[in-house]
Amino acid sequence: MKRSFSTAALLVALAVGPTPARAVMTDANGTIAGSLCQKVGLPGTLRVTADDGAVYNHSSSAVLTIDCPIASAGQGSKTLSGFSNLWYLDQSTSSISCTLRAEDAGTTAVNQLSRSSTGDDNGYRSLDFGNVQGFAGGQMHLRCTIPPRDAAGNASFVISYIIRDDGPDATGHKLGYHTFPGTNCRRIGSDGSVGFTTDGTIFNDLSGGNRMHVDCPMFTTRNGGSTGPGTVVWYLDDSPEQLSCMLRAEDAGSVLINSVSFNSSVNDNIYRSASLSGLATFNGGFVHMHCWLPVRDSGGLASYVVGYAIEPL
């Protein structure tokens, strides 16, 4: 009888086996130093501290706006209260103000929550960004303003942040799937001028010259394998010139390279996505995306990289 019971228990275990593997969570979230944040617009002076990777406004007169990209699980879940925080040190007369923006993939809908710092002292505190409803496949980012130094020269700092929107996978994506907004891209070379929109996209803010070349980092957790069907770039192509992106995989020594590319010449005002799946990656290597953003057209219309996602297989 004992053995029969054991067998039955095993069959029950088989039946419920996948459930405890909450591990179908996409494993996308993480705590990030403020140094991943990028400056938005011209006022203020973004500086990274020499020790803890925090960012602050070095200006003594102008307000600095930054955008802090989030590696989102893109499950359409709510952010977890108590586990979704931005840590700061407020030493200025004015507050640090931050808005968590959860955008849908096409940035046509947004859920957001704004918080402001308290303090003006030496106390390290955090802002809670829980209970913000995300969108399946959408992007998240924090948009913050940091006041200038006070009369005594004291600055305010964004130290680190984490937004947890992970959960049991609802979209069928593989472990390690995550999305980033376009504000995680960085300019290469000197062509173009970076513009970041409020909804987290990146565009070339010039009306003449060459296309702006940007590098959009992402993290990889798996060893080798190909990118899955969830690997996409979202964009809006509203310029006559071509918008192009290339997902690149390199080995750790940058010797071996694989890539998949897409080019868009639709020139309309419609949000689209392009697949970047099927890219063979290297064991121990890296994956990142390059894009080339055209200048504004004669009517001032620009093209945008809205966001991107990687799904390891």
């Binding site: 086996g17 593997a21 179908v24 130093a33 990274v48 130290i159 984490i162 390199e250 940058s254 890296f286």
Partner: protein, 169 residues
């Protein structure tokens, strides 16, 4: 059905039941979050940060002078980093092609940065070979990790040194 056959069947059933969980647990334990150097940000105003046009590496685009570039390279740090897993030791890949070395510190900070631990490493080379630094650090649970590196200027012949990418938990 004899006892041996029953045991074999049970083993198969047990294996099937546990396989998904074990496989996923294994993936999490071996989780190493790798990013290209392009995620790094310049610290202070000395040096000139450039991203390469191809592999997402970064370098100091100042020619031959005492203007080292300091960068901070954020990690999307695991909520619960694995502990005691040597195979997941943090690493940073580089190409040292300058007279001076690339120096890096891996820091783990509590989320408010009040507490921190760190480990340092220095490049070797001055040639065309890709190498990696390995770090030994027990990260602070619930905190964040980031690399802090100084990259020398190009040498007299114009050769630059590069941070290709890095990984941590």
């Amino acid at each position: 059905m004899n006892k041996r056959a029953l045991i074999i069947i049970e083993a198969i059933v047990l294996g099937a039941a546990l396989a998904p969980a074990l496989a996923i647990a294994s993936q999490i334990v071996s989780d190493k979050r790798r990013m290209t150097g392009s995620a790094c940000a310049q610290v202070s105003t000395a040096g000139f940060l450039r991203i390469t046009h191809d592999d997402g590496a970064i370098f100091n685009d100042v020619v031959n002078g005492n203007f080292p570039l300091t960068v901070d390279c954020p990690v999307i740090s695991n909520v619960t980093p694995p502990s005691g897993d040597i195979s997941a030791a943090p690493e940073l890949w580089y190409l040292d092609h300058s007279t001076s070395a690339i120096s890096c510190v891996l820091r783990s900070d509590s989320n408010d940065s009040i507490i921190s631990v760190e480990n340092s490493a220095t490049s070797t080379g001055d040639d065309g070979n890709y190498r990696k630094m390995t770090f030994t650090l027990t990260p602070l649970s619930g905190g964040y990790q980031h690399f802090r590196c100084t990259i020398p200027t190009r040498d007299a012949a114009g050769n630059a040194s590069y941070i290709i990418g890095y990984r941590s938990w």
